[in-house]
Subunit: 149 residues, 2 copies
Amino acid sequence: MTGIAQRVAGFEGQLKDAGLRMTQQRRLILRVLAEADDHPDAKGIFTRAFALDPTLSLSTVYRTMKVLETQGAIERHAFEDGVSRYEHADQEHHDHLIDIESGEVIEFSSDAIEELQRRIAAELGYELVRHRLELYGRKKRPGVRGKKG
Amino acid sequence: MTGIAQRVAGFEGQLKDAGLRMTQQRRLILRVLAEADDHPDAKGIFTRAFALDPTLSLSTVYRTMKVLETQGAIERHAFEDGVSRYEHADQEHHDHLIDIESGEVIEFSSDAIEELQRRIAAELGYELVRHRLELYGRKKRPGVRGKKG
DNA sequence: TCCTTATTGCAAATGTTTCGCAACTGCATT
DNA sequence: AATGCAGTTGCGAAACATTTGCAATAAGGA
Ligand SMILES: [Mn+2]
Ligand SMILES: [Mn+2]
Ligand SMILES: [Zn+2]
Ligand SMILES: [Zn+2]
């Protein structure tokens, strides 16, 4: 919902408060991130940004992702393949379902499962701080119902 | 519940069926794995096994873990720190809660959450094949109840 | 025991992410 | 607009976990 410009401006403020600078590179990466509707890894972000500014380096992408993560501007995920994937954090919490055939990542959120996780942790004597939930599935062919169908 | 000897014997059969061999190294690693009650990584397994046979190499541990995983004899997990951790697969499915202060890994299982995940996937048009669920929490101090306590 | 081939140890290669460092630039201040 | 101090960047090298090529070794059926 928030526009790119506003988001960049808002982030600029956060940086300033932390004594950090808004550089061309950060602006560029922020833009790439804002325009992304998937979950790119560092190399993917680099590729997209590099197309707009071929002086950018991959190191800077990594460093920027760290800054953005610290500022809470992005979230980092590590799905099965192990590499870090990023997405902007201006949306509310959600988890992911990965299509094991296509690799497509589908977002979902469920209050019920969030609550259940909290309860499970509590029963074990823990306060839930964060969690990682990934579902790996295969697309159901329409028309095929459950075992008893 | 299953004894180490039986487990090794059973695995030997699986290997044979796959045209693979039961080597000293595999026997050793299997033993280390069977005696482990935690979730060691490759280096951890190597260290324990190396103590019993200092001719073993780390490569062999990695290769063996791959074979064992393919045979379904072990499970591999990758918690937040990124490295692969292993455990024998002779117990029923469970998920993990990690104490973010001590690093301790607590196992738990919940039919409710398993079912809920299946339902969520189904609602998105997917058949759930596997999942990853990790809870990261902090030990509650006894005597301190919820916000309204 | 012999033979075939799976397996091993070693070192080198990978792939991802981090780091040291000198050059560069944002930006607050003259 | 010019100055100066950090914070930042690009580059190459390092770090780290894991994989792989290869020649030597050993499992296990004949
Ligand atoms: Mn997402
Ligand atoms: Mn476990
Ligand atoms: Zn969630
Ligand atoms: Zn589960």
